[in-house]
């Protein structure tokens, strides 16, 4: 039987600066602490956590200290903390941090090749696809590993991405939370075993202790991680822990099913509540038997957040007029209240969002314990 634990969860760490007692201005120990922050747009508030950098194990070290490391994207606070750790503690030869938008610069291929990276850390998957487009068939010969962070990615998707890369570049899935850093990483043996899976499988990072709250080895429940600075922390991800010995030597694997739920998603000042979307979609219950709304964002050249949306629908029966059904769905959702005085139609008109698109799919793949109806996804998926 498991011991009783007092779990820390997101609600506990959004009240103030978590672990503020670790910081004393002017003290030498400041050099080995850093902020971790979450974006605050997933509906659970902004977390600002101070962590001791020297107690966390950067993912890059699972494959030896990188000689030349590039990090693309991710929260700036977290990047600062990571850069400080990599340069000061782990003594990486050289490190460069780029913005996602930098991948669209005309000279970026030459710049990255000149830097001669051995390892690249990149998030989200949309940026990796841009990176692959930039290099096409001429990747930097120095590049050995790419670590992919950001949103959930299945083994099947990971295998598809690996196929787009030359054989000498190994793609590693970095399973991480903004507020905790990396929790797990993919392993070639496990990836091969589950290559067709719509779930994700990772080994816990060395030094990271994980468990599930459900005390159930058969069914997924919420993953908890024993973090040096957060204690036993509820991650909000649905997982199952498989105890077995992998050929790589690691003795457990985390089977990740995805986020447990998003009750609301905020993008560009607009807030989408799942229950309000459900209310609007109820009027189509005869024609549409299932749906999922994707909300994504990126920053434009003026550094303003810009939103993209798509709704996938599964038809209950063939409609008399497909185009009219799609238009009716769009019209209904444009009346969705997303701000105190604004509807979704208003924010589309204000060009905060691109117009809503509707796509018909055969089935909605369910991830997580609860039914997920709102999901944030990388931009690239919307473009597809």
């Amino acid at each position: 039987m498991k011991e009783k634990r007092a779990y820390t969860q997101k609600e506990d760490i959004v009240q103030g600066v978590y672990n503020e007692h670790l910081y004393t201005p002017g003290d030498e120990s400041t050099k080995s602490i850093g902020f971790k922050t979450s974006s605050g747009t997933t509906g659970r508030g902004v977390a600002l956590v101070i962590e001791r950098s020297n107690t966390t194990h950067p993912l890059y070290l699972t494959h030896g200290t990188p000689r030349a490391l590039i990090r693309v994207g991710m929260q700036l606070c977290n990047t600062m903390s990571n850069m400080n750790t990599m340069l000061r503690i782990h003594k990486v030869d050289r490190m460069l941090c780029l913005e996602n938008e930098d991948l669209r610069r005309d000279d970026i291929k030459a710049i990255i090749t000149e830097f001669a990276p051995s390892d690249i850390m990149i998030a989200p998957v949309g940026s990796l696809l841009e990176f692959i487009d930039v290099f096409a068939n001429a990747f930097p010969p120095s590049l050995e590993r790419i670590y992919l962070g950001g949103d959930f990615i299945s083994e099947r998707e990971l295998a598809e991405l690996q196929q787009k890369l030359p054989a000498q570049i190994y793609l590693v899935n970095d399973y991480a939370l903004s507020e905790t850093g990396t929790l797990g990483y993919s392993c070639p043996y496990v990836s091969k075993k589950y290559a067709e899976s719509n779930l994700s499988y990772v080994h816990p990072l060395p030094g990271v202790e994980v468990d599930t709250v459900g005390n159930d080895e058969e069914n997924p429940s919420e993953l908890v991680v024993n973090s040096p600075t957060l204690g036993w922390y509820k991650t909000g991800d649905a997982c199952r822990i498989i105890n077995h010995t992998c050929p790589c030597g690691i003795q457990s694997t985390i089977e990740i099913h995805g986020r447990i739920d998003y009750d609301w998603v905020a993008v560009g000042g607009a807030v989408f509540y799942a229950h309000l979307v459900k209310e609007k979609m109820a009027m189509f219950s005869e024609e549409i038997c299932d749906y999922r709304m994707y909300v994504a964002r990126e920053y434009n050249s003026r550094n303003e957040e810009h939103g993209y949306m798509n709704i996938e629908i599964v038809l209950a029966k063939k409609p008399e007029n497909m185009e009219r059904l799609k238009q009716d769905v769009i019209r209904a959702l444009y009346t969705l209240k997303v701000a105190p005085t604004k509807s979704l139609g208003d924010v589309v008109e204000m060009e905060v969002f691109n117009p809503l698109t509707v796509s018909v799919v055969q089935a909605i793949e369910k991830r997580g314990v609860k039914e997920v109806r709102l999901q944030r996804v990388p931009l690239q998926k919307i473009k597809d």
């Binding site: 902004v46 606070c77 000061r88 460069l96 930098d102 710049i111 000149e114 550094n303």
Partner: protein, 256 residues
């Protein structure tokens, strides 16, 4: 030019490897001015000349459509002077990620924990409120993005930029912020700190940073007096400057 400057530059040149596409000469006097174009014409790893035992923070410097990599050591980043930096909880936000990280590293070396802001102003506001930031460090452009999000705890604004925006500075002073302005280039670091009393003069006056040696003129040449992996020696800038009388014993220049 003082003897010290000559000696420091000579030491930097003496430590360069024999193959040196950028600086072939042996003394400061022999050196020819270098420009952005001359630097980016040499590949980064050939340009990163000074051998160092330290790890190298690399920054991407952008000039319009062109960009180039510059290597810096943490120790040298810490040597930059940002004037009267009496802050304990700085919020750091530059439009460019490299610059934010470079300045963030400065704070780490000075044993101050910097809060690097997200580019999303409403979230940044929450972050600043939580950390009770006492100061904001950024560029003219980032200041425009974030100034309406400042919590009351922010009392001091540090602008580090290559352009002086008089209206912006005057507005901040009028709104009772303590203001500091540092004239700087990302690749060359700080050149001078604005004497705020000269703000309304026809040509504002700066105290010259002690790690920068300037040859004033229509295209002022800057030499950084420390051995960065990518050295900055007689680097041609767009600043039009001329010497000004000393201020509190420090050499000064006017920005024309």
């Amino acid at each position: 030019m003082t003897r010290t400057v000559q000696q420091v530059v000579q030491n930097i040149l003496a430590n360069l490897p024999s193959e040196r596409p950028l600086y072939k000469e042996q003394t400061y006097e022999q050196l020819k001015p270098t420009s952005w174009g001359a630097i980016i014409a040499v590949p980064f790893l050939k340009r990163a000349l000074v051998p160092t035992q330290e790890t190298m923070m690399t920054i991407l410097v952008k000039h319009g459509h062109q960009s180039a990599l510059f290597g810096q050591t943490i120790k040298n980043i810490a040597r930059e002077s940002y004037g009267n930096t009496a802050f304990k909880r700085p919020a750091v936000a530059f439009v460019d990620r490299s610059e934010s990280l470079q300045k963030g590293m400065w704070f780490y070396e000075h044993r101050i924990l910097p809060l690097l802001l997200t580019p999303h102003a409403p979230i940044a506001k929450i972050q600043m409120e939580k950390y009770q930031c006492d100061s904001f460090v950024g560029s003219n452009e980032s200041l425009y993005m974030y100034k309406t999000s400042f919590p009351e705890s922010v009392k001091h604004v540090y602008i580090i930029d290559s352009h002086l925006n008089l209206k912006l500075l005057c507005d901040l002073v009028a709104n009772n912020y303590k203001v500091s302005f540092v004239l700087a280039l990302p690749e060359a670091g700080a050149l001078g700190n604005l004497i705020i009393e000269s703000l309304t003069d026809s040509a504002p006056v700066f105290t010259t940073h002690d790690s920068a040696y300037l040859e004033h003129g229509r295209e002022t040449l800057v030499t950084k007096l420390y051995a960065n992996p990518t050295p900055i020696l007689k680097y041609k800038t767009n600043f039009h400057t001329e010497p000004a009388p000393e201020h509190s014993g420090s050499p000064c220049f006017k920005l024309l």
